[in-house]
């Protein structure tokens, strides 16, 4: 809880401001919680792939976000609301009880699965602000169940695109639209349940916000919105001004676009000048044939995510972007137009976030975080049960976070773009005809460092009916990087059993339409995080413990860390000193 200095351009009483900040965030939090609890698909209910907030009446800029909203949506929602504002500006006819629905990735979206509901909040006959809800629906048509089509070459192969349209017009639900949505999904009931969950959240949000506006009045709340934005901007400027001026360049690569084997470069030139920052991505690769492109709004949103992870004290609203200039030309894969495919956007934004971390590590090693594992590994297994009913198991998998100045990276974490929890094995086995044969940490998967990366994981799944397998992943060729002397983590690896023996994807980590028989297995081994700092300076006892715990092989202990162990696994102090001395020489 905070209060604002009164010398700013607002007349709001500082304590009221603090109270409003808490109340408004609580409203967004409560909307998030309502959707998590009433959603049908586990990607919202368990993985929390959703977000709610309040947005500026004229600009759509983010005013208030919940504390648990999916980080990438926190950045992207302002663009979604702006898309509705533009539509209303073109067409007029806005009613206080309208609710817009859309999933258009190029018009303030991310990918086709993310359905936005945007509604106006009217007070005294005038538009006061916007309220929005976004959640990831399980399936919206296209060639691949779950829509992560690694081989899509245009948007039409990825699924059904809905531009901003009125789901509810002046309070009346458009059932024709619902029928169209239902006819275009493999799992219409799941989508219907999620839609109702989002409507539940909006209903509740309207109720809570109305109470708050009745209590405090529109002028006071509007003044508070301005103050929040000013505060976020001030905090961001304060953080930037502490970084040394200069241009810091960092590059990383995507393995391929799912269609050709060519690598894709993500290049950032980050310039600090006083309390301002320029993020210039001009040197990145051109738009690609496959689904690894992203729209401009998505690129800005993921930079916002990266900055929020580094400058954790800056509040989540539009003000923090004011001191930042983005240079993201349409000549790159980071600002594409329709119908370029964008279904693999998660992989691209993880790489963009990584290069922001990498460039900031050059500017200030004390804030450096080595690369997180950097791929969501969207894996679907789909088939038919003995009774003929269709099943689709779709999930994202975890890996290690990067070593950092404070600690080793976290083992088996979610990606920076999300706060998703993974569905339990027992829930998956109860819902789908699969049996996991391994769910374990992956030894030797972390980058070495004074603080090593977190470990990735091994997931091995046996299908209990015949199944089609789809995977959209990354980091099969280019490993998560270390910083400040730390080393890279292990590569992502995916194999499946076939009658001709074990196979792996011709294009690393991406595959569609693989068929396995019942009793055959797929195995996914995910990267850890990169290391931070010189591994030779890591506490030798910690290295010996990592070997005893099976995080690390004795060979790696010797090679990467210069730590020797005796035959019974205890630390060989003399041999370690000799090893480290010789490597230092």
């Amino acid at each position: 809880m905070t209060i604002q200095k009164t010398n700013q351009n607002t007349t709001i009483d500082p304590v009221t401001l603090a109270v409003l900040k808490g109340r408004l965030e609580q409203i967004a939090d409560e909307m998030d919680a309502t959707l998590y609890r009433s959603a049908f698909n586990p990607i919202i209910a368990e993985a929390r792939d959703a977000c709610h907030g309040l947005y500026h009446a004229e600009t759509g800029a983010t005013l208030v976000q919940g504390t648990n909203g999916l980080p990438i949506f926190v950045g992207a929602m302002a663009f979604a609301v702006k898309a509705v504002i533009d539509k209303v500006a073109r067409e007029g006819d806005l009613h206080p009880d309208d609710i817009f629905l859309f999933n258009d990735p190029y018009d303030g979206g991310t990918h086709l699965n993310d359905f936005r509901l945007v509604r106006p909040i009217f007070r005294q006959g005038r538009l006061f602000c916007w309220m929005a809800s976004v959640g990831h629906w399980l399936d919206i048509g296209g060639n691949v169940p779950g829509n992560f089509n690694a081989r899509a070459t245009d948007s039409f192969q990825e699924g059904v695109r809905i531009p901003p349209v009125k789901l509810v017009k002046a309070g009346v639900m458009n059932h024709d639209l619902l029928a169209i949505l239902a006819a275009n999904s493999r799992v219409p009931v799941s989508n219907y349940g999620d839609l109702n969950g989002q409507l539940n959240a909006l209903d509740l949000g309207v109720r809570r916000l109305t109470e708050l506006l009745d209590e405090h009045g529109e002028a006071t709340v509007a003044a508070a919105f301005d103050a929040f934005t000013a505060r976020a901007e001030a905090l961001m400027r304060s953080a930037l001004s502490k970084l040394p001026d200069g241009t810091y360049s960092f590059e990383d690569y995507l393995d391929n676009d799912g269609v050709t084997a060519d690598r894709l470069r993500i290049a950032l030139d980050l310039t600090i000048a006083g309390d301002r920052m320029v993020l210039d991505f001009s040197r990145s690769s051109a738009p690609c044939a496959g689904p690894l492109n992203i729209a401009y709004s998505t690129a800005v949103a993921c930079c916002y995510v990266a900055l929020k992870h580094v400058f954790t004290d800056v509040p989540a609203n539009a003000g923090c972007l004011n001191p930042i200039t983005f240079v993201i030309p349409e000549t790159t894969l980071l600002a594409v137009k329709p119908p370029k495919p964008v279904g693999g956007y998660t992989e691209t934004i993880l790489r963009v976030i990584g290069v922001v971390f990498g460039a900031l590590a050059l500017a200030d090693p004390a804030r450096a975080t080595a690369a997180p594992f950097g791929t969501i590994n969207a894996l679907s297994l789909a088939g038919h049960r003995p009774d003929g009913s269709r099943w689709v198991m779709f999930s994202f998998f975890g890996g290690g976070l990067g070593g950092n100045p404070e600690s080793d990276g976290l083992n088996h974490a979610n990606n920076p773009i999300s706060t998703a929890t993974i569905p339990p094995v027992e829930i998956l086995e109860a819902a789908y005809p699969v049996m996991f044969t391994q769910w374990a940490l992956r030894p030797d998967s972390a980058g070495a460092g004074l603080h090593r990366g977190g470990l990735g994981a091994v997931y091995e799944i046996e299908a209990l009916t015949a199944a089609d397998v789809f995977l959209l992943g990354e980091r099969g060729v280019f490993a998560p990087f270390g910083v400040a002397g730390g080393t890279p983590a292990a590569l992502n690896r995916f194999v499946w059993q076939s009658d001709e023996g074990e196979k792996s994807p011709p294009l690393a980590s991406k595959v569609t339409d693989v068929k396995i028989r019942d009793g055959q297995r797929v195995r996914l081994e995910t990267p850890g995080g990169g290391g931070w700092g010189d591994p030779k300076r890591r506490d030798a006892a910690a290295v010996a413990r990592d070997v005893r715990f099976g995080y690390l092989g004795a060979e790696a202990a010797r090679g990467a860390y210069g730590v020797a162990l005796t035959d019974d696994g205890t630390l060989d102090v003399a041999a370690t000193a000799a090893l480290r001395e010789s490597s230092a020489a």
């Binding site: 809880m1 905070t2 209060i3 604002q4 200095k5 009164t6 010398n7 700013q8 500082p14 304590v15 603090a18 109270v19 808490g22 609580q26 609890r37 009433s38 959603a39 049908f40 909203g69 980080p71 009931v189 349940g193 539940n200 509740l204 505060r231 976020a232 905090l235 929020k308 992870h309 954790t312 989540a316 975080t369 997180p372 976070l401 404070e406 600690s407 990276g409 976290l410 083992n411 088996h412 974490a413 979610n414 920076p416 706060t419 993974i422 569905p423 339990p424 094995v425 027992e426 829930i427 086995e429 996991f436 044969t437 769910w439 374990a440 940490l441 994981a457 091995e460 715990f549 099976g550």
Partner: protein, 690 residues
């Protein structure tokens, strides 16, 4: 019903970090006594016995009920036992992999150390499928071998967790039996006997934390048992569980993880009982400590239970617990201005050492307590708790001037008031979270502060949240000890069933419910405390098929003549009622499913007449008047009357502004509020009649 156990005096014992509070109740005479003795951290038995002896011969006591933080502290400070874990092949890392979460939404730093080291987690070949089919039977020799290896590595307790054991415990039970044959002590359990519920991480975490606590809680209870035996005590000795019910020490030794919130739960139970007797069945309890504010909701006299709680990142305990919401605002919360020019209060805290600036123990950054002192709300000459002679008001003023007033360009008194108001709004936020967010109208609720600090802030809570009133119990400091005496005996069980509702075999579900009820009832009966009756409560965790979260569905049935009489229509009606209460829309046409069956047996304790707490006749308001002092309210000083709270007679009416002082609490009555003393000695704070 009565089971004929002796009804000598019963003593509730609440061992806190600094003091051990005791409440002695003579059921035959209807009279009570209280005692407060210093706690002896590390050897709690010393303070425990000293407290009991203050009531006379320990051998004369009928029963002792104990609220303990030994388990809580072992969890928070990571001082549990060395645990060995045996799992299904391929799954030894479930405990360490968690649910693939991270510490916070924003920021990627920080790691996680599980309570069982990886080399102490061994795997055996066995597998049960989700439908309960045993795909690979367990080999007892492989289990014995693993257990021997873990014991040889120094494990003091053993946990066995197999995948899908909730659906069929056969492999786990066989493994437990095999391990028992070679395990050197009694500290071993398997997950299906602790939590037969779907979700392997939550079950593994709960089972592992139970093992982590078994040696700690076991040796603590043994020490107390010995001490009591040495005094010739022959009565019953019981422990308060996190669910607010009482259990036998035998059950506590087997399921120590159920003591994780023992102490706070007892306080909530007492606050609920006191408020209900006073005519306030709907209350929000608030415990303001040094670093945090804990709130809990009581609706129609019933405490709310949460199915699980997270002790710390990655440490999940899934067992029904009184739902306590904690925010980082306490007396020691530090106030300061951040780089964006904003005043923050907490979550950083000076705790009790070094504590607030006014304690003079080395801290120079201002806290909430320092603001309360500067505003005159706390009596600097007579600090509560009795440890310090006086508080340093000047040091508090300097700290607030330097760290708050100057950076914000405010007058020092306005700055102190701002600190209190920010803290108030944080507390109000916590109350809103548990009330308005759950669909409850705050105008029907009263705040019940217990512990030392809450009563300082009740006025703001009434006004900011729109509460009906506040009720300050006559002895806020011994609320938890009183809760031990009046808590019911309770045993909770859960079983995952995964049954679609449409066309359900109700007779089969009925048999299961009766079996669960019989087992739960037996645990309550074996506790041996006198009870008036045993209630059986059934609740289903249900959802629409396709959802993963569930809603709690209370079933309006009980066991009579060996059956619950449950049927599909009853369940459906109960589900739709519960679902609609949580969300605005039912989903007609979508099937519903029962995920878990929850069963509780509650042994209702004999009625405790709280009127025993009321002040004796013969006191007067004038006699309680102890002078006045200036206190700062809403931007101005008010010369404010001060009363000795315990000397106020029943029926006393005090118009604010006023301060009511007693050894363990200070109640502040704002200028626009008034207070009255009810027939139980409670102070009721309300808006003044206009």
């Amino acid at each position: 019903m009565s089971n004929g156990i002796s009804t000598g005096a019963i003593v509730g014992v609440d061992v806190g970090g600094t003091f051990t509070d005791l409440f002695h109740y003579d059921e035959a005479r209807g009279s009570f006594r209280t005692a407060k003795v210093p706690s002896n951290r590390g050897d709690e038995a010393v303070g425990f016995l000293a407290g009991l002896q203050s009531f006379g011969a320990v051998a004369e006591l009928g029963s002792i009920v104990h609220g303990t933080t030994v388990g809580t502290n072992a969890l928070l400070e990571r001082k549990g036992a060395k645990v060995g874990l045996i799992t299904t092949a391929g799954f030894r890392d479930v405990l360490e992999m968690r649910r693939r979460d991270r510490r916070q939404t924003w920021g990627l730093w920080g790691d996680f150390v599980p309570v069982v080291d990886r080399d102490l987690r061994l795997e055996v070949a066995e597998r049960t499928l989700a439908d309960g089919t045993v795909r690979a039977a367990v080999d007892p020799e492989e289990v014995r071998d693993a257990a021997r290896r873990l014991a040889a590595m120094g494990a003091e307790a053993l946990a066995i967790v197999f995948i899908n054991a909730y659906a069929n415990p056969a492999n786990e039970l066989a493994a437990l039996e095999a391990a028992r044959a070679v395990w050197p002590n009694a500290n071993l359990e398997c997950s299906s006997r602790i939590l037969p519920e779907i979700r392997e991480f939550e079950r593994t975490s709960t089972t592992a934390l139970n093992a982590y606590l078994q040696p700690v809680v076991g040796s603590y209870l043994a020490k107390l048992d010995n001490a009591l035996a040495g005094e010739g005590f022959g009565g019953r000795f019981h422990i308060v569980q996190s669910n607010g019910g009482v259990m036998s020490t035998d059950t506590a030794r087997r399921l120590p993880v159920r003591t994780a919130l023992s102490g706070p739960a007892a306080g909530v139970i007492a606050a609920a009982a006191i408020a209900k007797a006073a005519g306030f069945p709907n209350v929000i309890t608030g415990d303001l400590g040094g670093t945090s504010f804990d709130v809990s909701l009581v609706v129609e006299g019933q405490t709310m239970l949460a199915a699980q709680t997270t002790i710390d990142f990655g440490l999940v305990v899934r067992t029904p617990m009184i739902e306590i919401t904690t925010i980082g605002a306490g007396g020691g919360s530090i106030a300061g201005v951040d780089p964006g020019g904003m005043l923050q209060v907490g979550p950083e805290s000076a705790g009790s050492r070094p504590g607030p600036v006014c304690y003079g123990q080395g801290n120079s950054r201002p806290t909430l307590t320092d603001a309360n002192v500067l505003l005159g709300r706390i009596n600097a000459e007579r600090p509560i708790g009795g440890k310090l002679a006086r508080l340093d008001v000047d040091a508090a003023r300097t700290a607030i001037a330097t760290h708050v007033a100057e950076p914000l360009g405010l007058d020092v008194m306005a700055a102190a008031e701002a600190v209190v108001r920010i803290a108030n709004s944080k507390m109000a936020g916590a109350i809103r979270l548990v009330s308005i967010e759950r669909g409850h109208d705050p105008a029907k609720f009263a705040a019940v502060p217990f512990g030392g600090g809450g009563a300082l802030h009740v006025g703001a809570l009434i006004k900011e949240v729109g509460l009906k009133a506040a009720l300050v119990p006559r002895f806020p400091g011994v609320t938890s000890a009183l809760g031990c005496v009046i808590a019911d005996i309770r045993h909770d069980q859960v079983q995952t069933v995964n049954l679609p509702l449409a066309g359900i075999d109700a007779a089969s579900l009925d048999r299961r419910m009766v079996e669960e009820a019989t087992a739960a009832r037996a645990v309550v009966e074996s506790a041996g405390l006198s009870v008036e009756r045993i209630d059986l409560v059934f609740e289903l965790d249900m959802h629409y098929i396709g959802q993963t979260h569930t809603v709690a569905v209370p079933l309006p049935v009980s066991v009579a003549n060996g059956t619950t009489g449950v049927d599909e229509a009853t369940i459906r009606a109960a589900f739709e009622r519960a679902y609609q209460a949580s969300f605005s829309r039912l989903l007609p046409g979508v099937g519903a499913k029962i995920v878990n069956l929850r069963t509780a047996a509650i042994g209702r304790r004999p009625h405790f007449d709280l009127a025993a707490l009321a002040p004796a006749a013969g006191t007067t308001v004038e006699g309680a008047h102890a002078g006045s002092r200036p206190v700062w309210f809403d931007g101005a000083w008010y010369e404010t009357a001060v009363y000795n709270r315990l000397d106020l007679p029943v029926g006393a009416h005090i118009q604010g502004p006023a301060i009511l002082e007693q050894p363990d609490a200070t109640t502040v009555i704002d200028p626009d509020l008034s207070a009255r003393v009810d027939g139980y000695g409670n102070v009721i704070v309300e808006r003044s009649a206009r």
